[in-house]
């Protein structure tokens, strides 16, 4: 049978964003794939070269629009290293709390979209309902529901409002019950297993060679998790387990993400207890004036103080909901970073589809690519 190339995208329900998967097929069987990116490239690295550090935080929310706080944390860790600033411990706990809630929100978003892809409608509605509770929490202490601009170099913008920790606990309890429901909806469904089991297999050695990280790597039995392997922020003081699966297929990735949400609730509860017992400042005391919270410096002030800027480099790797995100900041003493380089886990996970898609059938593409958890915003940057 003759072979042909088929474009899936840039407008296709499978893509969950703007990108194009070119597939070479022979009959129903995939022979080769060629992912094409760039439809959502906004030049965030270039714009960052022209902005103050606190202004880049705004861009970080737009980098990944379902995990804004995780990307804010990524940038902040690197920027504080480059600028030689240490945040107070309470701010670190609030950041971890935010990042873990963001992980749950991102995973629920993934769950809702992915399960709808394979034909189950109800989980989409349930997922969106429960994600809204987390967005409500974010709204009450950051002011935003999707783009937060909450973290700052040196701390966070404001402390948690009164009573928020109790509201968070209620949401955690609610979510833990819902996770049982999610599993019941999917794992007891025969069509779910028929469409997911044994698809998109990528074993750990190949996944490492192809740079795949995050839940996709852990579903192959690897225990790689930056929160354990190279703890940043206060993760070394918190107890949690690394979620893994052994099947390395779509179902395995589902199981890993479900377990990660439960572990995230565990982390959040520890953070809430700590935050209740340890009131204190959420912004470093001796900040240079040009970094003063809550707003970035304006006008001439930054230029007047230009000569006092420190130089340095910042390198951070963060376990973001989609995988390992990285930032490398070169600070040459100017008011803007000289160069900011971000590593997007999604770009590499999508690119590795050259390895895990061939051999399967065309109808398997939506569940397999759905299980990657594509966010084109951070992929194209």
């Amino acid at each position: 049978m003759s072979e042909m190339w088929v474009n899936m995208g840039p407008q296709h329900p499978m893509t969950h964003g703007l990108w194009n998967l070119r597939v070479r097929i022979e009959g129903e069987v995939i022979k080769d794939v060629e992912p094409e990116m760039g439809y959502l490239h906004r030049g965030i690295e270039k714009i960052s070269e022209d902005r103050h550090y606190n202004e880049i935080i705004t861009l970080m929310d737009r980098t990944c629009y379902v995990a804004g706080l995780a990307w804010e944390q990524l940038f902040i860790v690197a920027a504080e290293q480059a600028l030689h600033i240490t945040p107070p411990e309470r701010a670190e706990y609030i950041r971890v709390l935010s990042a873990e809630f963001q992980r749950i929100a991102s995973h629920i978003m993934w769950y809702a979209a992915f399960v709808q892809d394979i034909g189950l409608m109800t989980p989409f509605l349930y997922g969106m309902r429960d994600r809204d509770l987390i967005l409500d929490l974010f709204q009450s202490y950051t002011g935003g529901r999707l783009t937060y601009e909450y973290m700052r170099v040196g701390g966070v913008r404001n402390d948690l409002p009164l009573g928020l920790t109790d509201r968070c606990r209620k949401v955690c309890d609610w979510l833990m019950d819902r996770f049982v429901e999610y599993d019941r909806l999917c794992l007891s469904s025969t069509p779910f297993h028929e469409r997911c089991d044994g698809l998109g297999v990528l074993e750990a050695p190949e996944a490492i060679a192809y740079g795949v990280t995050g839940p996709m790597l852990r579903s192959a039995g690897s225990r790689r998790d930056l929160r354990k392997d190279r703890p940043y922020s206060v993760y070394d003081k918190l107890q949690f387990d690394v979620a893994t699966a052994t099947t390395a297929d779509v179902t395995g990735r589902y199981l890993v993400r479900m377990e990660e949400m439960r572990q995230a609730v565990r982390i959040i509860r520890q953070c809430l207890d700590w935050l209740d017992d340890h009131p204190g400042p959420v912004m470093a005391a001796q900040l240079p004036r040009w970094l003063g919270a809550p707003y970035a410096p304006v006008g001439n002030e930054a230029y007047l103080l230009k000569r006092n800027y420190p130089t340095g480099v910042g390198f951070s790797m963060v376990e973001e909901p989609h995988g390992e995100a990285g930032a490398y900041i070169v600070n040459d003493g100017g008011e803007h970073p000289y160069r900011v380089k971000f590593r997007s886990p999604v770009l590499i996970n999508i690119w590795a589809s050259k390895r895990y898609l061939p051999g399967y059938r065309v109808a398997d593409i939506p569940p397999i690519m759905g299980s990657v958890d594509v966010c084109v915003g951070e992929c194209d940057r």
Binding site: H41, E45, A209, Y210, G211, V212, D229, V313, Y328, R381
Partner: protein
């Protein structure tokens, strides 16, 4: 492994190919190397030193030269290390890391697209974000984002 230990091992193997091993906050170190030994150095890091993960490849335009950097992770030592090489601005060429780490493919395409680094031996060195035939490498310092008249997209018509 310590930074000076790494420096001693690399220098005994590569001699003058290693230009220096610097301290780097949060990393095992930054290895500055001569682009001529790139391929051998990559093999050494993967096979002898156990750095199986390539996490990042990027490039910086320092105006008088360009810098390519690679960050690697070792599962055994639980550390990152950064490799960095300076390339001349008029001929920024270095051996591709794809034969050693397949994951370098997308990273190197990005470095070519945005900073204009040529990776010799890359199987498919095309632009990844900007359209094919685009006239600029946007992350070069000479590309200004506040001069809209220069920003007219120039795409070659096929």
């Amino acid at each position: 492994m310590k930074t000076n230990e790494l420096a001693a091992r690399l220098t005994s193997k590569f001699g003058e190919g290693i230009l220096g091993v610097d301290e780097f906050p949060g990393l095992l170190g930054r290895v500055r190397f001569d682009a001529a030994i790139a391929s051998k150095l990559f093999h050494t890091f993967r096979d002898d030193l156990g750095f199986a993960h390539l996490t990042m490849v990027g490039a910086i335009d320092w105006i008088d030269h360009r810098e390519v950097f690679y960050t690697l992770w070792s599962d055994a030592d639980r550390v990152y290390v950064m490799l960095s090489a300076n390339l001349p601005s008029d001929a920024p060429t270095i051996a591709s890391a794809v034969p050693v780490w397949p994951s370098a493919n997308a990273h190197e395409r990005e470095a070519w697209d945005l900073v204009g680094i040529r990776f010799e031996g890359h199987p498919d060195l095309r632009r990844i974000f900007m359209p094919e035939g685009y006239a600029y490498h946007p992350l070069l310092r000479s590309f200004k984002i506040h001069e809209p008249e220069d920003l007219e997209v120039k795409v070659r018509s096929e």
